[in-house]
Symmetry: C2
Subunit: 183 residues, 2 copies
Amino acid sequence: MEQLKVDPRVVRTRKLILNAFIHLSETKEFKDISVKDVTTEAQINRATFYYHFQDIYDLLEKSLSEVLSVKMPEVTSWNGDTLVALFSAITDFQASLSTRCHRGYEDTIARIIRDQIEVVLVRLLSAEANYLSKETISLLATITSWSLYGASMEWKRTQSLSAEEFIRPILPHLVAIPLIQTQ
Amino acid sequence: MEQLKVDPRVVRTRKLILNAFIHLSETKEFKDISVKDVTTEAQINRATFYYHFQDIYDLLEKSLSEVLSVKMPEVTSWNGDTLVALFSAITDFQASLSTRCHRGYEDTIARIIRDQIEVVLVRLLSAEANYLSKETISLLATITSWSLYGASMEWKRTQSLSAEEFIRPILPHLVAIPLIQTQ
DNA sequence: ATGATTCTGTTGGATATCCAACACTTTTGA
DNA sequence: TCAAAAGTGTTGGATATCCAACAGAATCAT
């Protein structure tokens, strides 16, 4: 469809940076990961990092975006399983950040995560519920992203159930309108 | 010792090309591997290939050089085990080429392999037998490289023993002078 | 506290890589 | 046999990446 050619150098470099970041995230908390750490691990120049990303938060955002697009490939069907997969991807990502209650960071991270959830939701809703207006879809995505993010935080706090067991029971109450339409 | 800084781009690119070549060598014979194949597999531009290598034979040569330097790291002791390791590396490499009796290629490949064996032998002999003149070492390396290459061809033809079983019995007859001096 | 160290984000110039051509040779296939 | 297709090796200009340097912010150590 839209195969806009990208310079192979940039796909290589972005992959190196993203992989380095993901790898580092398994080792230390986000707040302890510096741009220097990432570029050293990726074996690319620090200036090159800033050619691709605004700062470390931008990297976090695009990293999440990448994870979501990989874990939710070409899925256009709006159903419970899709939402469970999305929720699981979110909790996985937060677990990989392994950060808890760092004042000043939490807000930024939370906004980034919600924004990316919203992007996925808009995509899903646009593909499925084309009978809704753009504005309605946008608002639905917004409130649902807040809901899912809040649920992920609560899940992280309790840790009693698996992500799926945790979220599935309340799916019918989440974004009730489109679910009713398609089931 | 000699940490001459090299641009990280060239180490990346060379590694990509070498790995692509080694990977392709496991799939098809050397004669069927084109420069295009390698660059496509490595995901680098064809022009970049010629920035690093003269042609596909140059790549073959440097690939063997790389393999030898990896399989025979910092070994300076001139003894039977070292020669067995060298011989095994040669037969492994030839097996990975999986080429047999292609007129016109054989000569070039044989010369490349012998040259690289010779390089290793000169290094080993220089480190061990410093009581010999440069000219003597050079000539010893030359005749030994021919011997080892010939042995590897014979081994490839018969295939009856392991590389080690094949070569170890005749080691004392190979390059007898330095072996006597050090044992 | 304060000085030292480390990190950040940015810049200018050097260099490696990309890309699209080109002429030429080799291989393919009808 | 011949024409089309694919590979080779090279070139010039565009672009991504490197590198060294910088000032300012943040962190660390005493």
